[in-house]
Symmetry: C2
Subunit: 629 residues, 2 copies
């Protein structure tokens, strides 16, 4: 982060083609809602027809949820210096309950804005912040509780459905829509998501739409047990590595692979400026842990933290547009000794900072004692709470212990305080938990926190696989998602070892997309199986290109295939490298099916009419398992 | 596989150092049983002491299950041309119920032995095969049912425990032995595995010790629900790729990373010769699918297969020493039409071959009609059945359907026939199954197949992630292991796309070791948490080297760490790259704990005695969250 003005401008005005190029066979579409400015982005994957002998059967396109934002839209000219186009600006303004301030109201925000040393780093197009007008509550929860369906709510309803209604009305999709009934374990997922259902879930606190009024670039999304399971990714420079441009690149990269939200966990210098760049270019909700920045402001001395300093930091970040704050208000003084006999003590950074502060002052956590004031600040910008689990276990041994569950109960108490202010709330969860103890976490959270959306880190189901913790945690994540967790915080292969690079981020995201999708299927989310069915059909019919294009990572699927069978011709071959051309079970099955069809045999009838004679013909005709190439 | 005599000898006489070098901090140990020739291999990981201020606390070594065989034993001189030393030869001979034949009794085995063209490929030290003497039953199940504890049974009992008794008697292990009580879901795992328990489980058919009398190089292991969950790996050349030397290298590689058994699924030429090299150099049980080779013998024409040809193949392979055979005897003629309306038909190679045969002849599967004769052959060498699931689902859509479950019921019927002959049995399972349908598979298998060990491929919990199917299936595998599956067949990232290379094999194995270990923890296998506890303790105390050495893949853990913090000094630093030196939650927690200890505060007492005053001192003393470096 040395002086980089010219380089920075050159490099970041556009993001590289490698991270924005459209996926093969895919096009960006927008589904329009009840008004023309509700345009919900999705990705449509076009498929090749099925060829069986002389016949051709067309395969309808498959629509998938799309987190990539305008970066994958060829009609949008990306210029990071300008930031993304506004999606929600007009909606916010039309509500008439907010006002534009003359400038930042935080002291820190003002100081940074005036510091000439930072000119070369600063995002040039800083808008004046917006805040609720006095006496107004402008949160999505508040609207929902008053019975109002906001454009944001309609947007997420359309987004969740991924054109399910249209598919149901189109007979070409009948086979693709076949799906196992789910086992929702208490979730209550409707047959189709309506804007009114979204409103009711937000009103009840069972779902959150993180959408700060100062983040109009956001494409709204929803986090709740009765919706698609979401995944969060983390970026952030530390004092050791990274620059602003790398962080923005990581953001775009995260959106490309399927991150639904993103937390900026930077702890280095210039985190205020980095955040502005990230927010202005982010189509996904951005979360932060404000105590990290507050600690930077007191040079890392936890005991020097004060409520006033923290308050200023909250306002600073809220006015930039951060959509949710992790606040560790449940780390109470009396809980700290409960961690003394743990194998791995307190492993949450925020949790340890607050524990240290509590011990140093022998006072109750100021985040807890000032919680109502925090609610008032967050209410004024519609920032959602992500109530932090500062006492989460850092090892299997410490899972589900007294410290963890005591804090969870306090988070439930705080949830009700936040809801009194109509401030939206998520609850953070662990961490490291053996497989058979995972469900207890969800059940307790739903009970203690009144079904506020649960947002968990993994959990890792064993401690013994550093370098593979995306997998150890992906196992826990799929299960906890099924059990009722609304959002899964991803873990990369570098967890516990180092900072993730781009390859690690991609591995982490795809792993968590797998986990979230496995959970959606298990809960029986309507339409969730369409993509699986389409891909399996393509696989069975040797439509290799379609198989790649329908996969979560089309680029790697193709690359792996080509390692063994690089020739273009092989992508239309009726075999694959596992068995070679002479010996393919898929091919055999197709022969079996065609043969059965020729005999006029259906599954219902069985094989017994006149089959014996036909069988003789088949053998006489030289039927072979393989065919020459 | 062109002519390679000289190269082959040079290259394979020794395997490369890269795949046999000892893991850092580890040494090979042997635990001796009731007689000196029962020497059970394990790996012992030595740990550094914990340093807290002036004090030093020694950390006792951790013993882990070791599948790597003599390859990781510096005292064994490896020579692939000679094969591995005999482990079981004397035990088998001492039982006096087998005889050494003058040569192979299969026609094919005889023809290969006499073919001068194959001289350059042939393993030079071919032993004459051994077979049960007439009127004798020599299976482990037979001995068990007669109340006999074989050396094999004692060996696996010692192996399963991994020195648990010794740890329990040593007070240094008290903290490491803390473990969450499991949720065994009907498993019945004793507090310590005794040889008598092994015998009783084998007698009941709940566990299998695959141990052909012609595979004396084998280090015995056990597969059963009440033991550690095992993993199987696959190798095999196809007609497109690979040579003998590559297959042997893959075998050693598989053992290194933790494969408990290995299936040789070769379909190319020279599979007879390849198998001999693999068996003579394998410390783990080897499985095959004999129908693959039988099909090669009839040039891929499924309808040309005959019982006589198959029978000869079984004898050929049994006399080489194959420990378990996958036999698709449950694919009945009447089940084939049940697959006609499936999304992905029949995807098992063996299943499709037999389906094609049944249709072509309109006769019942000859593996089913000749099943008793198959049992008699397998009995004579103690080959275990792995009853194949030829109708397993190839997609989520087809999971748990009529075809799959009809076959499973037939496998149950065949299990009882095999048990009449005291032949050991495992049951193969899927495949592709959504998360919430996984348990049904185990429950049905345990019921229909009388608790014979279940051995499943994954299952994959979604179809949409080719190139990541080790992960989609690892999620299913961890769950199905917990629910009661005894062995998990690994899946590599290349599944559905191509043949795995060494990197893929390693990724697949580590993923499955994670899944198996997660299942062991969930079932509450005694001592399973020791390694997690030791690693977490090392992590918490910044003993980086110990953290690496205790991990499933020490080499990659170290490499990932070093990408961010390459300097040697950082491995003893009290921070890591995630937060940098100024801001580390682990460090903070240690400070908190030390502080609490200074105040004489225990978890029981709470923090309220005189803490306020002490807190003031702490602040006055300049307590800081970070320290200078």
């Amino acid at each position: 982060m040395s002086a980089i003005p010219q380089d920075f401008v050159r490099k970041t005005a556009q993001v590289s083609e490698a991270i924005t190029r459209p996926f093969p066979g895919s096009r960006k579409i927008h589904v329009t809602g009840s008004r023309p400015d509700i345009r919900v982005p999705m990705r449509e994957i076009t498929l090749a027809p099925t060829r069986m002998g002389e016949g051709v059967e067309h395969n309808p396109p498959v629509t998938v949820y799309d987190t990539s934002g305008p970066y994958s839209d060829p009609e949008v000219k990306i210029n990071l210096l300008q930031g993304l186009p506004s999606v929600r600006g007009a909606w916010i303004e039309a509500r008439g309950d907010t006002e534009v301030l003359s400038g930042p109201s935080s002291r820190y925000g003002q100081a940074r804005a005036e510091d000439p040393e930072l000119a070369h780093l600063r995002f040039a197009h800083i808008r004046a912040p917006r805040r609720a007008r006095s006496g107004h509550n402008i949160t999505q929860m508040h609207y929902a509780r008053r019975g109002i369906v906001t454009p944001e709510m309609e947007f997420v309803a359309i987004r969740e459905n991924c054109r399910l209604r249209e598919m149901r009305e189109d007979p070409r999709y009948a086979a693709l829509l076949r799906q196992h009934p789910g086992q929702p374990l208490g979730a209550n997922i409707p047959d189709l998501i309506t804007p009114e259902f979204v409103r009711d879930e937000v009103a009840a606190g069972r779902a959150v739409i993180p959408a700060n009024i100062n983040h109009p670039e956001l494409e709204p999304m929803i986090i709740g047990r009765n919706f698609r399971v979401k995944i969060n990714t983390n970026i952030g420079n530390s004092s050791l590595t990274s620059s602003i441009e790398e962080e923005v690149e990581k953001l775009v990269w995260s959106c490309r692979w399927g991150g639904d939200t993103l937390m900026d966990l930077s702890t280095g210098k210039h985190i205020h400026e980095t955040r502005e760049w990230v927010l202005r270019n982010s189509p996904v909700p951005i979360g932060t842990v404000p105590i990290y920045q507050a600690l930077e402001k007191v040079d890392g001395k936890a005991e020097a933290l004060t409520w006033e300093l923290f308050r200023d930091t909250l306002i600073e970040q809220a006015e930039q547009g951060v959509d949710y704050f992790t606040i560790h208000a449940g780390v109470l003084l009396r809980y700290v000794p409960l961690t003394a006999n743990r194998l791995t003590g307190i492993v949450s950074r925020g949790g340890s900072i607050m524990a240290k502060w509590c011990l140093a002052h022998h006072q109750e956590n100021f985040l807890y004692t000032h919680f109502r004031e925090i609610c008032e600040i967050m209410q004024a910008y519609d920032v959602a709470f992500s109530l932090g689990d500062g006492l989460r276990p850092g090892s299997l041994a410490d899972a589900n212990d007294a410290a963890q569950f005591a804090e969870l109960e306090t988070l439930g108490e705080l949830t009700q305080v936040a809801w009194e202010h109509d401030v939206q709330v998520m609850i953070e969860g662990p961490g490291h938990v053996p497989l058979h103890k995972v469900k207890e976490n969800v059940d307790k959270e739903l009970l203690d926190c009144f079904e506020a959306p649960f947002y968990t880190l993994g959990p890792l189901v064993t401690d013994i696989a550093p370098a593979y913790d995306h997998i150890t945690s992906g196992i826990g994540a799929a299960n906890i998602g099924w059990y009722g967790t609304a959002m899964l915080c991803y873990v990369t292969p570098k967890e516990h070892l180092g900072l993730p690079n781009k390859a690690d981020v991609r591995d982490g995201i795809i792993t968590y997309r797998i986990a979230a999708h496995a959970a959606d299927l298990a809960k029986g989310f309507p339409g969730a199986q369409v993509r699986d069915n389409a891909l399996s059909k393509a696989r069975f019919e040797f439509r290799w290109e379609d198989q790649f294009n329908l996969s979560l990572d089309p680029e790697r699927a193709r690359e792996f295939h080509d390692e063994t069978l690089p020739k273009e011709a092989h992508k239309v071959a009726h075999f694959c490298s596992m068995c070679g051309p002479h010996f393919c079970s898929m091919k055999i099955t197709q022969d079996v099916r065609e043969y059965a069809a020729r005999q006029g045999v259906s599954a219902e009838e069985g094989l017994d009419q006149g089959m014996r004679e036909k069988a003789r013909e088949f053998v006489k005709g030289g039927a072979r398992v393989y065919r020459e190439v």
